[in-house]
Point group: C2
Chain length 194, copies 2
Amino acid sequence: MAKLQKSIDKRNALVKATIDLVNNNGFHATPMSKIAKMANVSPATIYLYFENKQDLVNQTYIQVKAEYTNYTFATYEDTMPVEAGFALIWNRIADFKLKECDNALFLAQCDNTPMIDEESRQEGIKHLQPLLDLWERGRKEGIIKPVSDYVLYAYAINPLSFLMMTEKRGAFQLDKTHLEEAYESAWSSIKACK
Amino acid sequence: MAKLQKSIDKRNALVKATIDLVNNNGFHATPMSKIAKMANVSPATIYLYFENKQDLVNQTYIQVKAEYTNYTFATYEDTMPVEAGFALIWNRIADFKLKECDNALFLAQCDNTPMIDEESRQEGIKHLQPLLDLWERGRKEGIIKPVSDYVLYAYAINPLSFLMMTEKRGAFQLDKTHLEEAYESAWSSIKACK
DNA sequence: AAAAAAAGAATGAACATTCATTTTTTAAAT
DNA sequence: ATTTAAAAAATGAATGTTCATTCTTTTTTT
């Protein structure tokens, strides 16, 4: 195997181990030694790929966030009508959160704790711009409520994180019907009233 | 000062210090020694009040969660009409999250990490029953969408956590107008369509 | 003066990170 | 194609620190 590919594999194994362990035990109970073991690597090797533990978790966050937004906007075109564009983006996000449950869970944990450096957090936010642009367009066309992006995000997108986490905890099963209800609620909460 | 009151004060100081430090540094960077220092107490004294660190954080969670639900339902009567009851509860929750920001932030962190024992988490959930009963009534009366409690919670209540956290991070200022918009979105997302 | 509460110092384990060697890879020379 | 030596990557075993928890003594309360 090529050297470069091997390095990439090893780095990915470390990132994946970090996600798994932080998801299951929390950052406070995730020692480097366990990460190394899970990635089949010596603890010392981690330091060839990352500066230190904080850097490892920051970079993991940035990578996962990038995967998330890439997936989200992969098939989106900014020429789509507002409602169709929103439906597409919303469903891609829902998809990601259900299929890439571990990744989504990790992001939720990072976004709700001081675990990540402010700088990395900012880095992660950047890529959401297409959605904000869509909303701006929607407001201009009178299709979307004339309301702050934060409020729109809180009601249209963030609830998916809650539902994903609830499902992961085993409290209930998120099926196709639930998702349709959820989309309905999301759209209801942000569309301009007639 | 009476002995009992002194004990209560000391316990409260420990709980408050835990909240402050976990909010600002995360669980992983909150040693017992710092908690003790902030509460003006010897590290050893913590162990007169709590079994160990995990017990301290579990009990803190349960106490804050109880304050949250007590505040939420303090003025609620289950004879109120559904929409009025929901408006009341929603506003109390919003109030709590804005005024008792530190408490709310702490809960959000606990609810999104494996920091709290499952048992304590369950304990914390119990007190939400009046809201679930209200929703059940609302569904029967055709006022609330016939949708799972989890979906209702995700859209009606959880977004407030996101908005509170966003404000705390300084990204935007949550004013009276935002709150009215937020209520409007919350209600839109759960009321049965006409 | 006995009992309870609190304190500070001590203990031992866990951990992040580094160090000294070993293993693997690379690529130049045969 | 093989060999070989230099470079790079990886390792397991230290290292030194930090931390949760306990122990012994002191202070406060009854």
